[in-house]
């Protein structure tokens, strides 16, 4: 059981929640995630820990409304209780000093990127961060990112803020300008796929953080499985971070759509209950 202590809207569809979770706050590291279940009838979904405060015993999650559970979460308020929060799960990000690191975050992928950027900077790297989204109101955590980045480049599809263009355009610009030793791409699967294709052209080692469907998050079910370098791996325990050039993103996208119809139907039903 975890109480919601703070809530903030980043945009209409993106919400930050600060939860009481002292044990997780103490042991979590960048790259870790939690699995939450809102109530008795809820499903279990993974959410990356965006930041934590060990002293206060809190963890911060950033949630984008995409389906029933995320919408329910976004509608919860300070003082409400989430029935189950378990973690920290996954393998922590491998952070060391390598030189210049390019961190490309798309949409809410920026939230899990935050602790990585922070860690990389503290390890002594030059960190260039790209924040990409469809439009201005979907750009999140810009101030926090600026705090830990040597440079922040904002890209929007519609040009409403920063530069107009896709995340890959921003990445190419940096890569053509200076030597990049390592790259992180986190965001929607399609964005990671093209981000990975971009860095592959230049042979830059690249890490992606995969957000597959999960149930238990402990390696027990295999719902999260995906081919990495021709071998099936479980994202919840072997990942969530993998060599982006080895990930079968097409398979991952297909698997993410496994419950598309059910999810759509459930979401419509949920919207009706909210409106009623």
């Amino acid at each position: 059981m975890s109480k919601i202590l703070e809530k903030e809207f980043f945009s209409k569809n993106v919400v930050k929640l600060v939860l009481e979770a002292p044990e997780i706050a103490k042991t979590r590291k960048p790259g870790h995630f939690v699995i939450i279940r809102i109530d008795e009838k809820g499903e279990r979904i993974p959410l990356t820990i965006s930041s934590a405060d060990e002293k206060k015993g809190t963890i911060t999650l950033v949630i984008q409304k995409v389906g029933v559970t995320s919408a329910k979460l976004c509608n919860m308020n300070v003082g409400d209780v989430i029935m189950d929060v378990v973690g920290p799960l996954g393998t922590a990000t491998h952070i060391e000093k390598v030189g210049t690191v390019l961190c490309a975050g798309g949409g809410v992928g920026v939230a899990p990127m935050l602790p990585i950027v922070e860690g990389l900077k503290k390890a002594g790297n030059r960190v260039i961060t790209i924040l990409a989204a469809r439009s201005k109101d979907l750009i999140i955590l810009e101030d926090q990112m600026r705090e830990y980045s040597d440079e922040v480049i904002v890209m929007t599809d519609d040009g409403s803020y920063g530069k107009k263009g896709l995340v890959t355009a921003g990445m190419e610009e940096v890569i053509n300008r200076e030597k990049v030793d390592l790259c992180f791409v986190i965001g929607p699967a399609i964005m990671m796929k093209f981000g990975a294709l971009t860095t592959k052209k230049y042979n830059i080692p690249t890490v992606a953080s995969l957000n597959t469907i999960m149930v238990d998050g402990t390696g027990m079910c295999g719902a999260c499985r995906v081919h990495i370098g021709g071998k099936t791996r479980f994202v919840c325990v072997d990942g969530p971070e993998f060599d982006a050039h080895q990930v079968d993103f097409d398979e991952m996208m297909t698997r993410l759509g496994a419950y598309k119809d059910q999810e759509y139907e459930a979401y419509q039903k949920y919207l009706q209950t909210v409106e009623a």
Binding site: E23, I24, R37, V215, T218, M220, C221, A258
Partner: protein, 495 residues
């Protein structure tokens, strides 16, 4: 062992039993027919989740108990992994002392209501019964009687809360709440320890909850046992992964003196054949967890599940039977078992295979999948299947399946459940570098005390044996509790 034999002898020679044996001639006893378990109608039950076996009525249990000869050398006991005093509890049923029978069962078996339902009796006690061995007759229905006595106690509302020694305030931890963990926790509480059970999932019970379906083992029954354990003072912490949420060192700092690890064999195996990651293909763990733990089949719950019209389940164990019968209940027109050996080699309980057949499950034995094909949305639509034949026995003693070249053919499937075994849960071994494990990832323990290479850590159940059984897991848990007790007491004395 000698004193156990003497103990059994002494019990057998008690007056009431000697007198009981004389009441009916052995000839008469052996001429009685084995009782039949009342079952739900196959065509009705394959559409609902009601428990298939309805349980014996008292008069049936009493009738069956009369068949037991109360043998001087009760071979049935040698087949029981925890050595239940079988003739004693059966004779207690004969004299209608059902409460006494339940007490006898609980002397060695922490969860008789569960074991009476899920133990492979035909390979254990009933296999070794005098009737099977010497008379070539159906054995005493030991499993049904065990279930009867345990259910009787539960329904009587007089379930006794086991007596515990004076609380010694020493904290011990149990990792995992499956049968191994529950059995260990129960005994540790009886010894007087302050016991906390840590469970990764949001529910207590391990495979008993997320794996074995309602139609075979109602959850309610497991909950009653857990409630009793709470009353004994055992604490349960769900959503807590030892090694992640907190390390063993963190817990030791909090005052925990020793641990029992019963973390199970949670890691599902796949066959690594082409197309296996298509949508609609699940591990049995995922399929059963969605249905049993997450209630995906119920409208009110948010978790979805795909379950189609043509469901193929790969494997021949209990997990495969549970999956295929679940698929049928979720509306599959064709629910098929695809198993690479023949029925004789199937590891599933005989009763489950019988029930599956009655419910209209299609058995494609001596067949094996080679590849899956998907539709344009990435959903599985067909499987390529190969026929097999049996060769010489392999290391497991079962005849090895050999593919028949050129026998491949295609079948339509829209859902596949892969149920070809599990590997030990790697979480604990990963979290503890000093822990000795085998090449298969199971924890190495001293077979007498269940102590691992890390002195304060004991282990048992599937994490030590690989995929095994409920009764073996429970037996391990109890043995480990005794080992831990001895370890802690010796440590206290040394200080």
């Amino acid at each position: 062992m000698e004193n156990i034999a003497e103990y059994l002898k002494a019990e057998r020679s008690q007056e009431w039993r000697a007198e009981l044996r004389k009441r009916m001639k052995a000839k008469e006893r052996t001429s009685l027919e084995r009782i039949k378990m009342p079952e739900e109608d196959p065509d009705v039950r394959n559409k609902n989740s009601v428990e298939v076996n309805r349980g014996l009525f008292p008069e049936m249990a009493i009738a069956e108990s009369h068949r037991c000869l109360d043998c001087p050398d009760p071979t049935c006991i040698t087949g029981c992994p925890v050595g239940i005093n079988i003739p004693k509890f059966i004779k207690q049923i004969e004299v209608e002392d059902f409460a006494g029978a339940a007490i006898t069962l609980k002397e060695t078996n922490a969860l008789p209501a569960v074991c009476g339902r899920v133990c492979p009796q035909e390979k254990q006690c009933e296999l070794n019964c005098f009737y099977t061995q010497k008379l070539n007759k159906p054995p005493i229905a030991i499993g049904y009687l065990e279930r009867f006595a345990a259910d009787w106690e539960r329904n009587s509302g007089q379930m006794s809360i086991p007596k515990t020694e004076k609380k010694n305030k020493i904290k011990v931890g149990v990792v995992g709440s499956g049968p191994a963990g529950l059995a260990a926790a129960g005994d540790l509480a009886k010894y007087g320890y302050d016991v906390t059970v840590f469970e990764a999932l949001h529910e207590v019970g391990g495979v008993l909850k997320y794996g074995i379906p309602e139609f075979r083992l109602p959850n309610e029954l497991v909950d009653v046992e857990i409630e009793t354990m709470r009353k004994m003072g055992i604490k349960f912490r769900t959503d807590f992964i030892v090694g992640k949420t907190a390390s063993f060192d963190d817990l030791k700092e909090e005052g925990f003196k020793a641990f029992f690890v019963g973390s199970g064999a949670g890691l599902p195996r796949f066959m690594n054949i082409p197309g296996e990651n298509l949508n609609g293909i699940f591990s049995s763990n995922e399929y059963l967890t969605r249905i049993n733990l997450m209630h995906a089949a119920s409208e009110e719950y948010d978790t979805p599940v795909i379950s189609g019209k043509n469901v193929a389940v790969i494997g021949g164990g209990n997990t495969a039977m549970d999956s295929v019968r679940t698929a049928k209940r979720l509306g599959a027109e064709k629910a098929m078992i695809i198993y690479r050996r023949s029925e004789v080699e199937m590891p599933a309980r005989v009763e489950e295979i019988k029930h599956a057949k009655e419910e209209g499950i299609i058995f494609m034995n001596l067949h094996n999948p080679l590849e899956y094909y998907g539709d344009e949305n990435g959903r599985v639509k067909q499987a390529k299947i190969q026929k097999m034949e049996l060769g010489e026995p392999d290391a497991s003693g079962r005849r090895r399946p050999i593919p028949i070249e050129g026998s491949e053919f295609i079948i339509d499937v829209d859902t596949v459940v892969v149920s070809v075994g599990v590997s030990p849960n790697p979480l604990i071994p990963q979290a503890l570098k000093d822990l000795k494990v085998t090449d298969w990832g199971t924890i190495v323990v001293d077979p007498d005390t269940m102590q691992s290479s890390v002195p304060e850590i004991f282990a048992g159940g599937d994490i030590v044996r690989g995929g095994a059984t409920v009764i073996l897991a429970m037996g391990d848990g109890r043995k480990a509790a005794a080992g831990m007790h001895k370890y802690i007491q010796e440590k206290i004395k040394a200080n």
